[in-house]
């Protein structure tokens, strides 16, 4: 089907603006050809009846259909009120300037479209084009918020603002992973990722519309229980105690994980998901920090043991609440600095985006764990045996701290020293592609959204991983180093979905595990390929 969808179609009622047919998605190479005809399973009829499903074949939010025309009108009114606030300094002092610049300037050169993995992998579906969503918002903004906008709309591109358009726009704000690869290639600096982010903000802050994994089971749970995993301080301590025992059993190294040490040099904050899903990451940090003789601590205070800040993706108010808690815990513990574990968005949220919130005694130095790890390696205090990591390794670049913060080289300098089989992906560094799980996608799993992620948004990453290892025999175990919890979750899901452990012997993990795997004096390896130890 020729895809002729135009921005104005967003307000015209229909069953859907986009359908992925077998053969539309970018082709996968052998031995994965059997997935080439796979498309999304249709949403069940009761969902289609009750929820706003007229964008495409999937649902990220699942907005209930309004019951009456009056309810619809009220929602349109609230959207316009939220939109007005986005363009007012007193209500959007943080992001108004870049938003205005992106609204005013777009040459429609399509450079961004070629850079977007979702657009490319989907088989170039119009609605996933980075400027489609921006153009819809730009037209609404111009028509309804600029003087004489209704008069000039005829020439500048008209659009009707109705509930259909708004409901589709809300879902469409969750078909972009905010990787901002588009922004990095735009010749005039338009940021379509930022526009998506502002849209998500409008929906959450003004209309209470957000995916439940990010809000209700995300930031709200984080602030209430202490972690978006639901872990209270007791549970965090219990998990870490278990990790401590496990580390000794796995590696033969006895580690003592410190809690709440006042005046320590470093407060290390992990993404708490690591404690449950990737305990060896938490354990490896402890081994390395202890072996290097660092003065460090974890915090058992509510929120202090979970570095995540989902507000970064959809809500400035929630972002601020969590960031202030993190900084205040560090202030009261009197630590010299905060070190963020291997979690991309936590880097971006606390080190950079919160910069203007954290003033005075809350402005505690904040550092990336990658920098801390490199300092350990360079100090020469520890000996590493690269031969223990003698297997093919490639490196994924988490968007949040690589493209968006410029932390590119520390992780590479480490790998060049300790992983002889390291090879880059194509492209890599700031040009690398998103894992497909960015901006919360990795944890959003309602309806059939996980399938959409595995089929569409993570597809480019899967192709890149296969390409990085194409010269290796299928039976050789291979390691995708992904130093970010969200990316690890997305990569785990791709490998599972495409049966890639079995077909290509692909495994994944963080960076610190490779360091501990090569650390002199370990009796056993921390990295296993299935049941097979990575060295003997």
């Amino acid at each position: 089907m020729k895809d002729l969808i135009k921005p104005a179609d967003i307000s015209k009622p229909s069953a859907g603006l986009c359908r992925i047919e077998p053969g539309d998605l970018a082709t996968l190479p052998p031995p994965y050809e059997d997935f080439n005809a796979t498309v999304l399973k249709p949403l069940p009829a009761d969902k289609v009846k009750a929820l706003e499903t007229s964008l495409d074949d999937t649902l990220a939010i699942g907005i209930p259909k309004p019951a009456t025309p009056e309810e619809e009108e009220e929602l349109v009114r609230r959207f316009l009120s939220g939109l007005t606030k986005l363009f007012e300094k007193k209500n959007n002092w943080t992001f108004l300037q870049p938003l205005l610049l992106s609204m005013e300037h777009c040459a429609r050169c399509q450079t961004c479209s070629e850079a977007c993995p979702v657009f490319e992998m989907s088989g170039r579906k119009e609605i996933y084009r980075p400027i489609f969503r921006s153009e819809v918002l730009r037209r609404i903004y111009k028509k309804y918020l600029t003087p004489g906008g209704k008069m000039t709309a005829k020439w500048t591109g008209d659009i009707d603002l109705n509930w259909t358009a708004i409901a589709r726009l809300a879902e469409l704000a969750y078909r972009c992973s905010l990787c901002r690869r588009c922004a990095s290639v735009c010749p005039i600096g338009v940021d379509n990722g930022l526009i998506t982010h502002e849209l998500r903000k409008l929906f959450s802050q003004e209309m209470g519309i957000a995916p439940k994994e990010l809000h209700e089971k995300g930031t709200v749970l984080h602030l209430r229980a202490g972690s978006s995993t639901g872990m209270n301080p007791l549970a965090a301590k219990d998990s870490v105690e278990f990790i401590q025992e496990e580390m000794e059993e796995i590696t033969g190294y006895k580690v003592d994980i410190p809690w709440d040490v006042e005046g320590a040099d470093i407060l290390l904050i992990h993404n708490a998901g690591e404690m449950l899903a990737w305990p060896e990451n938490v354990g490896a940090f402890a081994i390395l920090f202890q072996a290097a003789g660092l003065s460090w601590t974890l915090s058992s205070e509510t929120t202090g043991y979970d570095a995540v800040n989902y507000g970064l993706w959809y809500d400035d108010v929630q972002l601020a609440r969590v960031a202030l808690r993190h900084a205040d815990i560090a202030r009261r513990l009197k630590v010299k600095k905060i070190v963020i574990g291997e979690c991309g968005h936590a880097h971006k949220a606390l080190i950079e985006t919160s910069d203007r919130l954290l003033t005075g005694d809350l402005n505690i130095p904040r550092e990336s764990a990658l920098v801390t790890l490199e300092a350990i390696v360079r100090s020469g205090k520890l000996k590493f045996d690269p031969q223990k990591n003698d297997f093919p390794v490639t490196l994924h670049d988490p968007c949040n701290y690589v493209r968006l913060m410029g932390i590119v080289e520390p992780q590479r300098r480490i790998l060049r020293q300790i992983a002889p089989g390291f090879r880059e992906m194509t492209p890599h560094g700031v040009d690398n592609y998103c894992c497909g799980g960015g901006s919360g996608f990795a944890i959003m799993s309602g309806y059939n959204f996980t399938d959409w992620r595995n089929l569409v948004s993570s597809r480019k990453k899967f192709l890149q991983i296969l390409q990085a290892f194409e010269s290796e025999p299928p039976q050789t175990p291979k390691y995708v180093c992904a130093p970010c919890s969200n990316c690890k979750g997305a990569i785990r899901d791709i490998l599972g979905y495409y049966d890639a452990e079995k077909r290509s012997r692909l495994y994944y993990g963080g960076l610190v595990e490779l360091l501990v795997n090569a650390l002199d004096g370990m009796k056993k390896p921390i990295i296993l390929f299935g049941d097979e130890p990575s060295w003997k």
């Binding site: 699942g62 089971k217 639901g230 998990s239 496990e246 708490a272 404690m275 449950l276 309602g446 309806y447």
Partner: protein, 106 residues
């Protein structure tokens, strides 16, 4: 909110079939739900060991324990756990035990 009928009673569950009203859980719920999670026949003593362990941990800590901890504390390996609960410990076992769906970056 979707509902599910098990052993003649209605239960509220989320989109993925996790029980929403945790206090409504009972043994008949688990027994009747087992088939949907690809468990054949009646639940065995080994199934109940896992289910009771999960419920106990959840009551104490508010979350499901990490999978490695389940294996270690109950002295069973991962393979056995998947044999008992073919849809996986995080999905099948937690569902039958009446726990909420895991949240956060896990």
């Amino acid at each position: 909110m979707p509902q599910i009928e098990l052993a003649g009673k209605m239960y509220e569950v989320d989109e993925d079939g996790f029980l929403q009203e945790l206090d409504k859980w009972n043994e008949e719920f688990a027994e009747a739900y087992a088939h949907a999670e690809e468990i054949e026949g009646k639940l065995t003593e080994e199934h109940w060991k896992v289910i009771n362990y999960l419920r106990n941990y959840y009551q104490q800590f508010g979350i499901a324990p990490m999978i490695r901890k389940i294996c270690k504390d109950l002295k069973i390996d991962m393979k056995k756990l998947y044999e008992l609960f073919p849809t996986g410990p995080a999905k099948g076992a937690c569902k039958l035990a009446g726990l909420s769906k895991p949240t956060g970056c896990v």
